[in-house]
Point group: C2
Chain length 239, copies 2
DNA sequence: CGTGCCCTTGAGTACAATCAACGTTCGTGG
DNA sequence: CCACGAACGTTGATTGTACTCAAGGGCACG
């Protein structure tokens, strides 16, 4: 069930059998979440974290006049709210962008896990720091990249992250988001997302249609995005 | 020397004498850093973290055509790069925005500290999650706030963070940044920062001049920024 | 076969960028 | 002590990217 999560962890560091068992043992419950549901609202007091097994989730904040900013997209294998272990209440909401399957891990279990297995403590701390690195990259996109460069950067990032957990097929991957949701990641209106996607298509760089991303010119896409995957820390941890 | 750091920690949770001593004992060196110096470049392998005692630092990334994005401002009492403890190499650079005094804490000392004192492990993990929360708030600014609202949000945030470590005098605080650096936080050009600051001034909300921020109409500033300090987690940790 | 959601396209607007010039302050050296 | 230069701040004129408003089209689902 949580194979993708283990794959994700193993992409960065080793995991021995005892550690793997400990992680498996810390799941207390599995749940389904309907597409579009905000299952975690800013400010709620939390006593467990949510491991995303299948589907896409988004962390977001709403502003008064209808503005919404998505601060990170979660893919299968990610903890959507591991940071709630130390924060207790989140500063943002989390929604299921598509139908999702999740595993529930109580904070008490994370406490036990990290106490008993120092390497897991490190790995999970690392994991929240990786979320922060993704936020920083998105700050660069939001502040300094043009609309097409931002789109290119987003699709490059998801290509890498989904690839890590086996959810790409070469240059293609499923991404069931609306153009409005993409705009909420990039600080753009849906209309402008639409026009910019057309430009990416017309330039022969990539196609995003019917919930599928297809990268046609990967080097070109990387160039326009100035995409450097270092911030995803896909190399294994130095000892 | 590291009083402000202790103050900052104590704003969120208790600290007993043993913990305090352990933290004090983990500093191996004090250094001065010249204003404007990039003392930590993206990609370097790190074996210590840097505690900011005095002055302002910025995490930033440069893009090809002269664009720069600052992803977070650090104030005295902050660890500027605690996340390097788990990341080893950073995805961004860090510069001294003003002359700074810092304390060096080796990763081995952090390792020992967190091993011996579970509450400190929690607190420092929390601390990096707080950085992530600040990144998220800046994503909202960069993606969805107007220029004046973004400026207002930035100055509100710094007012709170500096207040926590005793660096405000009522509605006033020292902030020795250029308008260009402020623009690099907000994704704006220096020219537009200048005009927007004038508008804030003319509306009687705040003044930023000669390295000093003075908030004239705090409720008004909070309103225009839609500033909600929850993301700074200034309430004490729930047990 | 309608209804709603999403995508697409067009026309006009606005916020912020760019280009350019000038002012101010401050440190440095003649 | 004054002249000079560099960095920063200010303002004006113009351009451009992205937003707003609006309408129509495709598709899935009840």
């Amino acid at each position: 069930m949580i194979e993708r999560h283990l794959t994700r962890l193993r992409a960065r560091d080793d995991l021995d059998a005892a550690e793997e068992q400990a992680i498996r043992g810390s799941v207390t419950e599995y749940r389904q979440i309907l597409a579009g549901k905000t299952f975690l609202r800013a400010g709620e007091l939390l006593e467990h974290s949510t491991l995303l097994l299948d589907g896409f989730m988004g962390r977001y904040r709403d502003l008064s006049q209808g503005g919404r900013q998505i601060s990170e997209i979660h893919v299968p294998g990610d903890f959507a709210d591991l940071h709630s272990f130390t924060l207790k209440r989140l500063d943002h909401s989390i929604m299921a962008l598509t139908a999702c399957r999740v595993a529930i891990v109580p904070h008490s279990a994370i406490q036990a896990l990290t106490q008993a297995h120092p390497r897991l403590a490190r790995l999970y701390w690392f994991s929240t720091n990786l979320d922060a690195a993704i936020h920083r990259e998105w700050e660069v996109t939001l502040g300094r990249r043009s609309a097409i460069a931002g789109l290119a950067a987003l699709f490059c990032e998801l290509h890498v992250r989904l690839g890590l957990v086996g959810l790409t097929e070469g240059p293609r991957y499923r991404l069931p988001l609306t153009q409005e949701e993409v705009g909420d990641c990039l600080g753009l209106t849906p209309v402008h997302v639409n026009r910019s996607l057309r430009e990416l298509r017309e330039r022969g760089l990539m196609i995003f249609r019917k919930d599928v991303v297809e990268i046609l010119d990967h080097p070109g896409l990387i160039r326009i995005a100035e995409f450097d995957p270092n911030y995803l820390y896909i190399e294994r941890m130095p000892r």
